[in-house]
Point group: C4
Amino acid sequence: MSKHFKNPKEGNIDNSGFGTNSAEEGGRLTNKDGTTNLRKTGMPVWDRISIYHTLIRMQRGPFLLLVFLFYTSINVIFASIYFINGVEHLIGNDGSQQPWRQFMDAFFFSAQTLTTVGYGHVAPTGMAANTVAAVESLIGILIFALVTGLFYGRFARPRAYLIFSDNVLVAPYKNGRAVMFRVATYKNNHLTDVSAQVTIAMHIIDDGKQVTRFYPLPLEISNVNSLALSWTVVHHLNEKSPLYGFTKQEILDARFELIISMKAFDDHFSNTVLQRTSYTYRELLYGERFLPMFHKADNGDYTILELDKINDHEAALVQEPEINTFA
Amino acid sequence: MSKHFKNPKEGNIDNSGFGTNSAEEGGRLTNKDGTTNLRKTGMPVWDRISIYHTLIRMQRGPFLLLVFLFYTSINVIFASIYFINGVEHLIGNDGSQQPWRQFMDAFFFSAQTLTTVGYGHVAPTGMAANTVAAVESLIGILIFALVTGLFYGRFARPRAYLIFSDNVLVAPYKNGRAVMFRVATYKNNHLTDVSAQVTIAMHIIDDGKQVTRFYPLPLEISNVNSLALSWTVVHHLNEKSPLYGFTKQEILDARFELIISMKAFDDHFSNTVLQRTSYTYRELLYGERFLPMFHKADNGDYTILELDKINDHEAALVQEPEINTFA
Amino acid sequence: MSKHFKNPKEGNIDNSGFGTNSAEEGGRLTNKDGTTNLRKTGMPVWDRISIYHTLIRMQRGPFLLLVFLFYTSINVIFASIYFINGVEHLIGNDGSQQPWRQFMDAFFFSAQTLTTVGYGHVAPTGMAANTVAAVESLIGILIFALVTGLFYGRFARPRAYLIFSDNVLVAPYKNGRAVMFRVATYKNNHLTDVSAQVTIAMHIIDDGKQVTRFYPLPLEISNVNSLALSWTVVHHLNEKSPLYGFTKQEILDARFELIISMKAFDDHFSNTVLQRTSYTYRELLYGERFLPMFHKADNGDYTILELDKINDHEAALVQEPEINTFA
Amino acid sequence: MSKHFKNPKEGNIDNSGFGTNSAEEGGRLTNKDGTTNLRKTGMPVWDRISIYHTLIRMQRGPFLLLVFLFYTSINVIFASIYFINGVEHLIGNDGSQQPWRQFMDAFFFSAQTLTTVGYGHVAPTGMAANTVAAVESLIGILIFALVTGLFYGRFARPRAYLIFSDNVLVAPYKNGRAVMFRVATYKNNHLTDVSAQVTIAMHIIDDGKQVTRFYPLPLEISNVNSLALSWTVVHHLNEKSPLYGFTKQEILDARFELIISMKAFDDHFSNTVLQRTSYTYRELLYGERFLPMFHKADNGDYTILELDKINDHEAALVQEPEINTFA
């Protein structure tokens, strides 16, 4: 394939953050959800994990389960301390002689202390129990600072809420061809100063070795003031394109990956939001064009954006490059 | 109208985030408050709604009502659990045999647990009631993390606090004409690095079809260091303007819409703030100019900005373009 | 004075956010602390006040007093409700028949509810008291969300912590003259990507009317990577300067004001910080130069920055412009 | 050494924030952890300390100890007030006549009030004790606003989590030589829009005086879209380099320091992150090149980044500059 490309090194930029030997066909560099297809080794797990990132990124279910388990564990620890110290120092306990009932009394007293509910029908007495309770309520405040901070942080985390078309199309464009995908916001959010960045990763044979080269794809429009409706991001297959002069078959055979990065400002989050995704050559459709996904409301007063039409496309004759001067 | 424009496609940028068939005369693209005049369909409502955006954007009254209803509902749910479990497990309850009084006892106990007030004159006893109470106080902490986060987030949300003149004027400017509107901050906030972006949407007949074209309007000054007083944003109707050479009547007839976006830095919010608005051709006044809206204080020590004068204007003779070479 | 300036309109930019008639000699545009010397009228006070800005900007003492008064007032309101409802519905009260003691019982119960301490030795009984208490604890949580948010927000508000030299100097520079002031961080903060912006406001007689014109002053270096030590910001009085060719007397007579804006990134605040100040012609010293304010430690291991030397300067002969071609 | 440099002033920029006389060989300007090697004097300690910066930057152990001591101190203060007022006003205390037991009763009651646990088995009675308790619970809420804000702020503080190679290498590059170091993220964080800035500080003899000059080092690539794997930052020793034409021995003898600043966007922190470090001439290895630190997984599905190989290098013949025209 590389024979068609004038100079495989020309225009190649290695500023993708991936390297030339980082992946091969089949091994996707960027996953569909925008994460990188990568594992790190060589340091202890603990050093390699950012607790903040892990907890912010975690699914909602596991996160809530973790909070619950954490809450239970801390109460078990403090319940054990109160139990060892003797439940007779928790006045108001039900006076049971059964150890497990005593432990549960200590457990519920711990929960009431940690959450600062502090009903007081059970209350500490004596130096030891009072000291442990005073420490526990301080620890409770600190721990719940993290838990509630993360809980709200997850809820209010700036996100772009973008949907992308499933496929990237090669469509007719300006007497030629263009690579296109479509993007829209799907929630009641509003993005301004939206910019798109597309990098193509191509697995090329260079000096007999398969290497991966990266080229930025110039876009017809790379920045929109406001992403109100849908935006069809267009890369014209002209002489500035690393795919210039490729025939249909050559494009279909090229084992490339498009790495997409969208950045915008959301004034409700008051923050920059970012979303990434990728397309591989398997997700390319040749000779298709997108159909409109919005129309005027019947009363003419507003515009309707139909999110389920983001993938709608129809066949469109694409003119093959006439002379392939590099063949 | 389009006949006067040298080339309706020249300078046209479709980076407004709206499309060519997105609206017609009458159907405003951007509302006066800066929101887009748009509805989305094709996905379940739940997927289309960002709870965060909805709650941050909501009016204060409905938001507080929602918080109150939410608080009541959760207490009703937990009260039901305590009630079903038997109020005899809430020691300190008033011993009433009437179910509704028992339910209210459970309800108020629930409220005391959820808010972590925990007076304790009513307190849980036994495994079941204690477990529910321990879970409820945890849930209370998590829920109030969202409620208080949103409550403060709404209060401290970075906003630009800008007022715009009601009308956009065509006034004499540099031996010619200019389109002008005026903007000022109306609160005790101070914006720095303020930039203005103006896009004109024009509904044009192209190939017999009505399409909407977008052009950025070049501004005489598009960025001010600090928005202390008022700022008259000026678009000179010179050869770089898509309205160049339009006669008074043609401008009045042009069914355009100006989409305004202001961006600035507020160092008390420590954040970027953004405000959007729009003007349609119905809000244009031809042959008027703004009167000053600030003056020196009598003692000469400071400047007075009169916010109620933001719309003050007077008639001003505008020189029509002499030769309309495109007619 | 304006006779010396080649063309009073040339280079004049009105992007300072002030206008030509905004101030006169004596009426400073920007105060020493960076606030603008400005009042707004024409809207009701309530609309003109951003509560957030007011409370964030307020001195610490008044802020704490306000919090205390607010706390007391809310308790007085709720105490009145409990009192009117009858303190017999607050079980555990001390049974006093004196109204003021009953009111104080209600007041302290209110405080315990609002802060969610909820000792419970006094507790509500009956529908009315319980309902009010349930509402009050909810209100308490919401109100303290604002109070604690503001309290921490004030504490953690990104600030630049810059000190400026008291005076702006005209010093010898590169076979000519330059206007200089000095700036440094005075806390254990570290600023990166620091940029300075200097605008000169000159009160000029134009067509017999006194107007204020604004010119950006080009700086020898307008951006430093990292503000570790002190930075002497230098405006060379060369042909690009609006003060070019001014004699010593003309500079001393020019009723100008320098408006300074410094912007930087603080990676502990993880935010952009901004500080503004100004110098008037009364704060200019002609023929002085700054003395170094840092030196190597005796053991050569680190550098010492002497903050009390920020104003240290000594007389330095400044070469007057030889030919004043504009006289 | 300076004799080899064409013009020691050419290209020199003093925008590093350090000055020409700020340090000497041995006195590092920037420490390995990115802090500046600097002390400030001339203002009272209190004015020179930002409490926020100090507490955010402090190690975890000392921070937690400080919180604990602060909590204890405040309780001691309030315990003293309750004690002086008489523990008979704390109903429910154990009636001990021993002063230290009475003080501890007061202490634990204070802790229960400050944390708003408020068991209520001990509760205030009478105007004085009730007033102090009402004030203490307000103070508790305000103080814990700072403590929990800082606690979460420290946890969620945007950080870059970058590791740098221990050494900076001079390696063969494009028929010449280049200075290189390597950087990677070591946690499960993902940085986008990563930019590197390298400044060289050279201690040069100028007019018989040793001065420090700063030059920005142009980089082959100074910005990557996404830092997925490792990034080898390369400064080519070509004619644009201040080290151009230096022989191996001259480079080894040059007492320089490289000041590195990396800036990026982390979309989980939704914020800009920044990390700084430095290399001195003692950390330079001449004639070495980095070995790859990542490879394809055996199943070809993903890429493995080996963090422990960040320093791996091997000897590589570096071609000396043929003609040293400046000797």
